[in-house]
C-alpha cells in the first residue's frame, strides 16, 4: 500500500530531471572529461615505458610508500592509548581534547605543515621526520574516532571476564581487546595510509626540496617540467595502488570482523583508582601536548623575529615591499581576498549543485543511486589529480578556461559537493514520507506536498554543507596549485611561498596567514557542529 501511495505521489519526472541535470552536466564536464583526458594522455606505451623505466620514478614510489607505512604505523601506535582513554573514561577536559584532535584533523594540510615547521627546531626542519611528525599529529583524530567509536561500545564485562580468568591488564589488552578492535584498527590504518600516501601539502611545506611523493612529482612534472605524459602515468599509478589498498582493507576487515554484542550506550566511566587516574592524566595530557603544541607554536612564531617579539608581521601584512623598490612577489592581503572570493563562489556552486543533487537523489529513489555514486567519485580521487586533469583539459580553444576566474572555485566546488550531498541526503532520507502522503490527503499536489514537507528540512543541512564547503575551499591546496595563476594566489599557496623564502619577516607572515587560516577553519567547523541536528532532533523526524 505504501509503495502504491508513494508511486501515486511521486514527483513529476520533469522536475527530477531538471534537478539532476545541473549536477550531472557539472560532473561530466569538470570531473569525467578531465579524468578521461588524463587516462588518454597516460595510455601510451612509449610514455609508460619511459616513465616506469626511470630509476627516479621508483625512488619517488619507494619514498611515497615507506613514509606512508612509517607514518601509519606511528599514528596507530601513538593514537591507540588516547583512543582507549577517550573511549573508556570520563574525565574533566575530555570534550576539549576531542575538540582539539578534531580541529587538528580538519585543519588544511598546509596549516598543519606550517604548525609543525613552527614547532620543530631548525635541525629537524625540512627532514622526513618533520613530515612523519606532521602526518602523525594530523591523523591522530582518525585513530581516536574510528577505533574509539568501536572501543567505546565493546562490553567492558568481556575484559572483566578475562581478568577473572587470570589475565593481567597486558594480557587483556593483547589477547581480548586488540583482536576485537582489529577491524577498526585496519580501517583506521587504511584511511591514514591513503592520506599519507597521497600527501602533498605537508611535503611541499616540510620536506627538503628533492624529497617528493607521487603527488608532488605529478605536480613537478606537470607544472615545472611540462612532462604531461609522465605526470599522467604517475597519477594513474597512484590510483592503481590506492584501489589495491582499499580492496585489501575491505577483505581484511571482513575476514577479521566478529559478531560482538556491542553495548548500545557508551561504557565510559570516571577513573576509579589512583593508578587509573594517573594513567588517564598521563595519556590525556600527552595528547593535548602533541595536538596543541603545534598550534601554539604557530601563533608564537607569527610574533617572533630574530630581534625579539614583534607585531610587524601582522601589521605589515599589506606591504609587499621588503625593501624600498624590492617586492617579494607574494601579497598576503591579496591572497586573503582571493581566498575569500574563491570560498564565496565555491560555496555558492557547491550549495546550488549539492542541494539540487540531494533533492534529485532522494526524489528518484533507486534511480538516484547512479548520481549519488557519481558525485562521490571526486572524494576517491586526489585533489592533485583533479587539478591536473582540469589543467590539461581546459587548455585549448574553445574550452581554454585556464585564465577564467571561476575555474579555481569550480575545482573547489567539485571537491566540496560530496560533503554537501552526504550531509543533505542523510537528513532528507530520514524525513517520514507519511508527511507527504498526509499533505496529499489534504489536497496538496505532489510538488506542493514535496515543497511543504521535504524542502524545509533542507536548509539546516545545507547550512552545514555550506560551512564545510567554505572550509574546504579556504584550505584547498592540491587542485589550486595547478589551477591558480600569478596574482590569483590563495592563502595556502601564499603560505607555501612565504615559508619557502628566506627572511624572518616573510616566514613570520607565512605563520600569520597560517594562523588566520587555522582560526577561520576552526570557526567554520564549530559552526558546523552547532548546526548539525542533535540525536533528539533526528528522532523527531
Amino acid at each position: 500500500m505504501d509503495g502504491a501511495g508513494a508511486r501515486v505521489n511521486r514527483l513529476p519526472r520533469r522536475l527530477l530531471i531538471a534537478l539532476a541535470v545541473g549536477p550531472t552536466v557539472g560532473l561530466a564536464v569538470f570531473y569525467v572529461w578531465p579524468f578521461v583526458t588524463l587516462v588518454v594522455e597516460a595510455v601510451d606505451a612509449t610514455v609508460i615505458a619511459d616513465t616506469l623505466g626511470r630509476s627516479s620514478t621508483w625512488e619517488v614510489v619507494w619514498f611515497t610508500a615507506w613514509q606512508a607505512v612509517v607514518s601509519t604505523v606511528m599514528t596507530i601506535a601513538v593514537g591507540m592509548a588516547p583512543a582507549y582513554v577517550l573511549a573508556r573514561y570520563d574525565f574533566r577536559g575530555r570534550s576539549v581534547l576531542v575538540g582539539l584532535l578534531t580541529a587538528m584533523f580538519v585543519l588544511p594540510t598546509v596549516v598543519m605543515g606550517a604548525a609543525i615547521l613552527a614547532l620543530l627546531p631548525d635541525s629537524l626542519d625540512r627532514t622526513v621526520w618533520a613530515v612523519i611528525g606532521a602526518h602523525v599529529v594530523f591523523n591522530l583524530a582518525v585513530v581516536v574516532r574510528v577505533v574509539g567509536s568501536l572501543w567505546e561500545h565493546l562490553p567492558t564485562d568481556m575484559e572483566a571476564a578475562a581478568a577473572t580468568l587470570g589475565a593481567s591488564r597486558w594480557k587483556v589488552a593483547t589477547q581480548i581487546s586488540a583482536p576485537l578492535v582489529r577491524p577498526a584498527v585496519t580501517a583506521a590504518a587504511t584511511i591514514v595510509f591513503l592520506f599519507t600516501f597521497t600527501s602533498y601539502g605537508v611535503i611541499r611545506i616540510l620536506a627538503a626540496p628533492g624529497t617528493r611523493t607521487i603527488e608532488v612529482e605529478v605536480w613537478r612534472r606537470a607544472t615545472q617540467l611540462g612532462d604531461i605524459g609522465a605526470a599522467a602515468v604517475l597519477a594513474l599509478l597512484q590510483l592503481v595502488v590506492l584501489i589495491a589498498i582499499v580492496s585489501w582493507s575491505t577483505v581484511a576487515q571482513r575476514r577479521h570482523a566478529q559478531a560482538i554484542g556491542l553495548e548500545p550506550t557508551s561504557a565510559r566511566r570516571r577513573p576509579q583508582t589512583v593508578g587509573e587516574r594517573r594513567f588517564v592524566t598521563l595519556i590525556a595530557g600527552s595528547a593535548v601536548l602533541v595536538a596543541g603544541a603545534p598550534l601554539v607554536a604557530l601563533v608564537v612564531r607569527s610574533f617572533s623575529t630574530p630581534t625579539g617579539w614583534s607585531t610587524a608581521a601582522w601589521t605589515g601584512l599589506g606591504r609587499t615591499e621588503i625593501r624600498p623598490g624590492i617586492r617579494v612577489g607574494v601579497d598576503p592581503v591579496e591572497a586573503v581576498v582571493n581566498s575569500l572570493g574563491n570560498a564565496l563562489w565555491a560555496t555558492s556552486f557547491a550549495v546550488v549543485i549539492g542541494a539540487s543533487a540531494s533533492l534529485a537523489i532522494v526524489g528518484a529513489g533507486r534511480a538516484g543511486r547512479a548520481l549519488d555514486g557519481g558525485l562521490m567519485l571526486p572524494l576517491a580521487t586526489s585533489a592533485v589529480t583533479i587539478g591536473f586533469g582540469m589543467l590539461i583539459t581546459f587548455d585549448t580553444s574553445p574550452v581554454d578556461w585556464r585564465a577564467s576566474w571561476w575555474l579555481v572555485p569550480v575545482g573547489h566546488a567539485l571537491i566540496a559537493v560530496p560533503f554537501v550531498v552526504r550531509t543533505c541526503v542523510g537528513v532528507l532520507r530520514s524525513v517520514d514520507p507519511a508527511m507527504g502522503t498526509a499533505a496529499a490527503t489534504l489536497g496538496a499536489s505532489s510538488i506542493r506536498a514535496w515543497w511543504a514537507t521535504l524542502v524545509p528540512y533542507l536548509w539546516r543541512p545545507l547550512a552545514v554543507g555550506a560551512a564545510l564547503a567554505a572550509a574546504i575551499s579556504l584550505g584547498e591546496f592540491g587542485a589550486t596549485s595547478f589551477l591558480s595563476r600569478s596574482g590569483g594566489e590563495t592563502m595556502p599557496i601564499a603560505i607555501e611561498q612565504l615559508l619557502g623564502r628566506t627572511g624572518s619577516i616573510l616566514q613570520a607572515q607565512g605563520f600569520v596567514l597560517a594562523t588566520l587560516l587555522a582560526a577561520t577553519t576552526v570557526i567554520l567547523v564549530v559552526v558546523v557542529e552547532r548546526l548539525r541536528p542533535t540525536e533528539a532532533e533526528r528522532a523527531e523526524r
Binding site: L165, A167, T273
Partner: protein
C-alpha cells in the same frame, strides 16, 4: 586444652560499602555530595569453604555490585574481601583467584569453544597440550563433547551458558561467582541446567556465591540462601 584451629571461610566479605556517583544534570558544574547514591551499606557475608550460597534480593539491591566488588571489578569505598583467609581487597582482579560467570556469558567471540575454556589454564601458564586436555575434560563434564571447534557465536543460549560455566571452572578458581547465570533461558532448559549446575558445583567442591532473584533456582543449586536486605 586449645580449641582445634578452624578453617577460614572460603569467602569472607566484611563491612563493604559502595556509593556510585549520579551523573550530573545537563548544564550544572562542580561536585555535589548529594550526587552520591549508596548502593551497598556495610555489607558482610561469610561463605564456608566448598559451600554454595545463593544471594537473593530485589532488583537494584546491589547483588551484582557485590559480586563485582568481590571480583575486583568495582572498588569499594570501604570494607574487606578475604578469600580463604587471605585479604585480596587491594589485589587486581586477575590475582584474586575469583572466577565469575556473567549474566550474558561474555564469551570471547574471536576464539573457538575450546580456546574459550582453555583461556584460564593458558593464563596460568599451563602448556598447550595439557590445557587442551583440561578444557576437553570440562567440556565433557558440561555435556559439550564435540563442540570444541565450534564458534561461540553459533551456540544456542543453553550451550553458551555451559561454555561460560566450563570456562570459569576450568580456571580452578578458589571462589566462583555466578551472576544470574540462568536468566533468559526457557523454563525447561532453566530447570534442567539448574539441576546440572548444582551437581557440578558440589562435585567441584568450590566455594560459590550465586546471585539470583529466583527462589526455586536458589533452592535447587545452593546449600544456603541469604537475602541482601538482611545483610
Amino acid at each position: 586444652m586449645n580449641a582445634p584451629p578452624r578453617d577460614p571461610p572460603g569467602l569472607d566479605i566484611q563491612d563493604v560499602t559502595v556509593t556510585f556517583g549520579v551523573p550530573r544534570a545537563e548544564g550544572t558544574r562542580g561536585r555535589d555530595p548529594s550526587d552520591q547514591q549508596l548502593v551497598l551499606d556495610h555489607v558482610s557475608l561469610s561463605v564456608r569453604s566448598g559451600e554454595v550460597v545463593a544471594l537473593l534480593g530485589p532488583s537494584g539491591s546491589g547483588k551484582s555490585t557485590l559480586l563485582r566488588v568481590i571480583a575486583g571489578i568495582i572498588v569499594a569505598d570501604s570494607g574487606r574481601v578475604l578469600v580463604h583467609g587471605v585479604d585480596v581487597t587491594q589485589r587486581p582482579t586477575h590475582l584474586r583467584g575469583v572466577g565469575m560467570v556473567f549474566q550474558d556469558n561474555q564469551l570471547f567471540p574471536h576464539m573457538s569453544v575450546l580456546d574459550n575454556v582453555a583461556f584460564g589454564p593458558k593464563m596460568a601458564g599451563i602448556d598447550r597440550s595439557e590445557r587442551a586436555e583440561h578444557a576437553l575434560t570440562w567440556l565433557r563434564r558440561v555435556g559439550l563433547e564435540g563442540f570444541e571447534h565450534r564458534r561461540v557465536t553459533d551456540l544456542s543460549g543453553g550451550e553458551a551458558k555451559r561454555v561460560a560455566l566450563a570456562r570459569t571452572l576450568a580456571g580452578e578458581p578458589a571462589v566462583v561467582l555466578l551472576d544470574e547465570p540462568l536468566t533468559g533461558l526457557d523454563r525447561d532448559l532453566h530447570d534442567r541446567l539448574a539441576g546440572e549446575l548444582g551437581a557440578l558445583l558440589h562435585d567441584a567442591d568450590v566455594t560459590t556465591l550465586l546471585v539470583t532473584h529466583d527462589h526455586d533456582e536458589a533452592a535447587t543449586i545452593a546449600d544456603r540462601t541469604a537475602e541482601l536486605t538482611d545483610l
